[in-house]
């Protein structure tokens, strides 16, 4: 089971409930329509990981690494100290595309949404670095939308298989975010088949589905992130 209970006063017990069937090495697919809190969930997952002493890899594909920090600050989740400590490893796929001249630094690497080979090189380097830091770590890819937009869908599926194998081999927990309706149904089905645990966000409830069965919780988004609405 993966614990996200490190953050106090955040009404997070329901996360543990959703994750109780997940284990190290698993790939979790977070999916749903736009604007239902998928990325906020990822920030929360990232931050709880760091607060709990587990390092984390975060791949930002839809916006830049600076925006990641800014967006998390809106919830009072400050990433900077963890970046400085090398506890979070960020791969930024968009900033260079926007024409910004940026250099790689210790744990902040830049790649391109079209260069999936290079992305996997950086995933390999980061998993090595995180594994050496801690035998438990998490890896989040937020999200597939832009990657699908600029690559053949089959190639993206190949990337995901390699990504899953790499994270799984190192016994990390992988999270991948997907916005429904952005690819053909057949590709979406293949995505679902790759995941060990699927979390479907619809704006009101999170439906969890794994080999152990299905369950759901009601949720809302507050200034403290994704919050359970107790029934």
């Amino acid at each position: 089971m993966i614990s996200v209970m490190f953050m106090e006063d955040h009404n997070m017990e329901f996360f543990d409930y959703l994750f109780e069937d997940a284990a190290p090495g698993d790939l979790i697919l977070v999916y749903g329509p736009p604007k239902v809190g998928k990325s906020i969930f990822c920030y929360q997952f990232l931050y709880s990981s760091l607060v709990g002493g587990e390092p984390c890899l975060y791949i930002v594909a839809d916006y830049g690494s600076r925006q990641l920090e800014q967006r998390m600050m809106e919830f009072n989740w400050f990433l900077r100290p963890y970046i400085q400590n090398g506890d979070v490893y960020i791969i930024d796929l968009l900033t260079r595309l926007a024409g910004v001249k940026v250099e790689d630094s210790g744990t902040l690497k830049f790649s391109s949404v079209q260069n999936l080979t290079d992305l996997m090189v950086k995933v390999g380097v980061s998993t090595r670095s995180l594994f050496r830091k801690s035998s438990k770590f998490r890896a989040i890819l937020d999200s597939l939308t832009v990657i699908f937009a600029f690559n053949p869908p089959n190639l993206v599926l190949r990337l995901l298989k390699a990504y899953k194998a790499r994270i799984s081999e190192a016994r990390g927990i992988g999270v991948v975010v997907h916005t429904t309706g952005t690819v053909e149904p057949s590709i979406e089905n293949s995505l679902m088949e790759l995941a060990d645990l699927k979390l479907c966000f619809d704006g009101e409830k999170i439906q969890a589905e794994s080999s152990a069965g299905e369950k759901f919780v009601q949720y809302t988004i507050t200034d403290k992130g994704v919050k359970n609405i107790r029934g």
Partner: protein, 391 residues
């Protein structure tokens, strides 16, 4: 013959590549190998040849930037007209392109590269990346196009270098790709849960009979592809036979402990050797067994690509210490072989008894050995190389 500009590769290929060779660098996902193609191009441009890069993975400006980070001035060659891009990226990203050839639709790619080949007679073209082409064009069409490009390359005496990421393609496709090339260089990882090293070996060459040596390398900026001599760790409890093992496995060895003590009264204690076996070259580091030297273990373990764990088969009371040393050297995250030494002594446990007592998984070979007589040493080395090479 033309040089590849990749260290050691020319030696393995018998001096370089034939002038109009088609060469494929085939790498598993996670290996940093783009520099192989870029380094070959840069070397050829500096020699005065013409060249081009077909890119479908990054816009030309990013590639120029990458060259700069390696310390290579591609911009100068672009300005002089000695090099140019076939841009298969910018139009797909909605970006303007001032490349000589710009691909707006994948139906144009075959013709554009045919023309590019004609533009660089006696030169070189780099195709980055073949995998993306396959997923855009389909497997059969890609193979057909490659054959046409390679024939065209022969006609114009142009070397073609393909970068291919070996995603989960079916084996038939990979075999057909290999058959279409004059030379295939496999780029592999050394891994144990995570990637800890990478190496290249020539899988096929139509003009030479290359050895199956794997050359370990890393990619540095600036510099590009650099080969290095890997470290092999020999660890285990006190009096297990590590020093003797280092001596037996090495062509040359020295015990720093003894040397240091005779010349300088300090307590540095390392056995250092250099091994060369079937083309594999490595430096061997034997760690001290005593707990007071444990601080050294982490440092030595970090850069090693493989480890021998030596245990005294007659001393099960030391097995817990052996496991502790594996943990402290981080050897759980590198390929490793357990050497069950002193098999000739009374009371020696068999490899399977040791496996059970130490609770070691089946994935870790346990080799019975009498190191003082050299017995089991080669078997242990073969087993470790098998793990490192991933065969």
């Amino acid at each position: 013959m033309k040089r590849t500009y990749i260290p050691k590769l020319d030696d393995i290929l018998g001096g370089g590549i034939i002038d109009n060779a088609s060469v494929m660098f085939s790498a598993v996902p996670g290996v940093d190998y783009e520099a192989f193609g870029y380094q070959m191009l840069n070397g050829r441009l500096k020699d005065g040849d013409k060249g081009f890069i077909f890119t479908n993975v990054a816009e030309p400006e990013t590639i120029v930037y990458e060259f700069r980070s390696y310390g290579w001035d591609l911009e100068k060659f672009l300005q002089d007209g000695q090099a140019f891009f076939v841009d298969g990226t910018s139009p797909f990203m909605g970006l303007p392109s001032d490349a000589k050839y710009s691909i707006k639709d994948y139906s144009q790619v075959e013709e554009a590269i045919m023309e590019a080949i004609e533009d660089v007679p006696d030169g070189i073209g780099v195709i980055n990346n073949l995998s993306t082409l396959i997923d855009y064009l389909g497997e059969d069409e890609t193979i057909d196009i490659i054959k046409k490009w390679n024939l065209h390359g022969k006609k114009y005496n142009t070397s073609l270098v393909y970068l291919f990421t070996k995603w989960d393609y079916n084996s038939n496709l990979i075999q057909n790709l290999k058959k279409s090339m004059d030379c295939v260089v496999e780029i592999k990882t050394i891994e144990e849960r995570v990637i800890i090293g990478q190496g290249f070996m020539v899988a096929h060459s139509s003009w030479s009979e290359p050895s199956d040596t794997m050359v370990l390398f890393f990619v540095v900026q600036p510099g590009g592809v650099k080969v290095y001599i890997p470290k092999i760790l020999v660890t285990g409890p006190y009096n297990a036979g590590k020093s003797t093992f280092v001596k037996k496995i090495s062509k040359k060895s020295v015990s720093v402990d003894r040397k240091a003590l005779s010349a300088f009264p300090t307590t540095i204690a390392l056995d250092i050797g250099h091994l060369e076996y079937k083309g594999f070259v490595a430096d061997v580091f034997g760690t001290p067994g005593q707990e007071r030297f444990d601080l050294l273990l982490d440092v030595l373990g970090k850069e090693s690509v493989g480890a021998f764990i030596i245990v005294d088969s007659t001393a099960p009371q030391t097995f817990a210490r052996a496991k502790e040393m594996i943990r402290k050297t981080k050897a759980e995250a590198i390929p490793k072989v357990l050497v069950a030494n002193k098999q000739d002594l009374p009371g020696a446990l068999s490899p399977e008894e040791i496996r059970e007592k130490m609770k070691v998984g089946k994935d870790i070979p346990i080799i019975p050995a009498i190191v003082t007589e050299g017995r089991g040493v080669t078997d242990a080395l073969e087993a470790l190389l098998g793990l490192i090479y991933g065969d």
